[in-house]
Amino acid sequence: MFDKFQNNDRMLMLFFIFLVLAGPILLAPFGAGYPDLLQRFCIFGIFAIGFNILFGLTGYLSFGHAAFLGVGSYSAVWMFKLLTMNVIPALILAVIIAGLFSLLIGFISLRRSGIYFSILTLAFAQMSFSLAYSVLTPITNGETGLQLTLDDPRILDAANTSGSLPSTNFFGLTMNSTAKFEFFGMVFQFNVGFYFCAVMLILAFYLAMRIFRSPFGLMLKAIKTNQNRLNYTGVNTRPYTLAAFVISGMYAGLAGGLMACTDPLAGAERMQWTASGEVVLMTILGGSGTLLGPVLGAGFIKYFENIFSKINENVLHGWFSFLPDGLEDLIVWVLHFFVGKGWHLTLGLLFMMVVIFLPGGLLQGASHIIDWIRGKKQSSSTQISNPNSMPAE
């Protein structure tokens, strides 16, 4: 199945569009069909797709991409405050500012490669994070975060007389309006904000696919395998890595802008290093260097974060109440480290397992399973001889 996709981008694209647009229906049975989570799937999907253009193709591991996410959010909220609640100008500014910011950081950080590059990006991101809390409070509103207020100018919008904060919209379509349908006892929610993010995700995915298949993308892959040879082949690798860095920074800016579109506030914690680390995890967990992998990784992490962080000790006691008291308490005591706020422990363990047992990420796991099922039907003589090839790429 995945091998076929490899040769058939149109199939892959249609499959992706179907999965994304049908998300509210497909994910409802798993308790993930509500707008807030679906939007996060899309937004972090975009973030990870962009990150993968840098990391998956060139191998340059940035630990500072959350800075661009944060910059995108701030820019978008400023647009909501000053110009209009329409999301389009906000997103345009978010992408442009994040692009400029990543041009600056990339220009400096890309003077080094390997671990030094990673450390430089991390340092820049942490600097941005602290600046957002201190010197830049007039722009970022410090710890409170940047929010909408009633007396914002919003020069393009009609005067607001309702006395409540206006909501973000796409040419009049309000982002947070939702149509609910009940069907066989299940609630399906179709939310404007989600579908807006979904369309953005599909566009982001399409653009990434074009980049992967382009001569530019080929050069990026060449940088990953042998940068020296590329230099001795007459290619100046610096502008290529810088372009990849800026493109991925703009993706991050778009993701940050979309966060502000679905919930118009921006805080500095979005720029923290843990957020930068999260997108690295998403990309590697799903399968770096593949097209679908990062989206899968983003969805996986956000879904399980949602499930695991909701479980608390009471829920656990409910699950294990059939056991004798002493044993019940013991099991709940052990498990409570892994749920709720301890969800990151579970994530860490999962990540370790994937890196050790599935170096190609979840996507590789999926194609192993498919091959295994297929292999039972066919003889093994059709096995592909190259173990290094990435699935669906």
Binding site: I211, P215, L218, T225, N226, N231, T233, G234, N386, S389
Partner: protein
């Protein structure tokens, strides 16, 4: 006319004088062999031509233009390509992609943001890459991942990559090392054909005297960092200094 003019090049690594007052003049359109025992400084000399090393003193001129201080990719863009002693290829990519990359680099220069074209629909690049692979007899291996090739095939692939750029000067560092006899003879034929049909100038480092004497129009003998003789092949064989420094031990 000499296409590559090297004068008084010195290079030391710490206390080790790898190159001492090296002079070399490669005539346009010829194959110039550089021979010498292991550790004589042959690879180091080539490194000084391609921007990998900067000589301590001396000049390196290509077509009258100094190569010193130029970046590796700039030197390549002026028309100098190199096949390395240990193959430098894009191991994770397919043979076909390996050959397409220099084709793109030749056409698009050192940077081109063609992120929305499709590699698939670049007809001229495909034609050229196909041709190159046929020239080195690797058309049947085009979909293999480069890391899975044999050593000899890797070297031929690297040669195809360099030829795809239509260089004016091709530097080859032991092109037949690790090849079977038959492949060595194919390589001799290939290099002779390149010289006759494409008029590419070549500087070849080679240990195999059969290769050297079948191809070279001029030979420089390097020993312990200095050129001890530069002469025509027929004068090299019986040269007393060469016997002493190089052939002496072997015969």
């Amino acid at each position: 006319m000499s296409i590559l003019e090297v004068q008084n090049v010195n290079k030391s690594f710490g206390g080790l004088k790898a190159l001492q007052n090296v002079n070399l003049s490669v005539e346009e359109g010829t194959i110039h062999a550089i021979i010498g025992p292991n550790g004589a400084g042959k690879s180091t000399l080539l490194n000084c031509f391609i921007g990998k090393l900067i000589p301590d003193t001396g000049t390196v001129n290509f077509n009258g233009q100094s190569l010193l201080g130029m970046k590796a990719h700039e030197i390549n863009q002026t028309g100098v390509s190199r096949v390395f002693q240990t193959p430098e290829i894009f191991s994770d990519l397919t043979v076909y992609e390996n050959v397409m990359i220099p084709c793109f680099a030749k056409r698009d220069g050192s940077f081109c943001l063609n992120a929305l074209n499709r590699v698939k629909s670049e007809a001229e690049i495909h034609d050229k890459a196909e041709h190159m692979m046929e020239d080195v007899n690797m058309a049947d291996k085009k979909d293999m991942v480069a890391s899975s090739l044999s050593r000899g095939d890797k070297r031929r692939l690297e040669m195809a990559m360099c030829l795809a750029q239509d260089p004016q000067l091709l530097l080859l560092d032991e092109p037949t090392a690790g090849m079977a006899r038959a492949d060595t003879n194919n390589t001799i034929d290939l290099l002779a054909e390149i010289q006759n049909k494409r008029h590419i100038t070549m500087a070849v480092i080679e240990h195999d005297m059969h290769v050297v004497f079948s191809l070279a129009q001029k030979i420089s003998v390097l020993a312990q960092g200095t050129v001890i003789v530069e002469d025509l092949p027929e004068n090299i064989k019986g040269h007393p200094k060469v016997q002493e420094a190089y052939l002496g031990g072997a015969h």
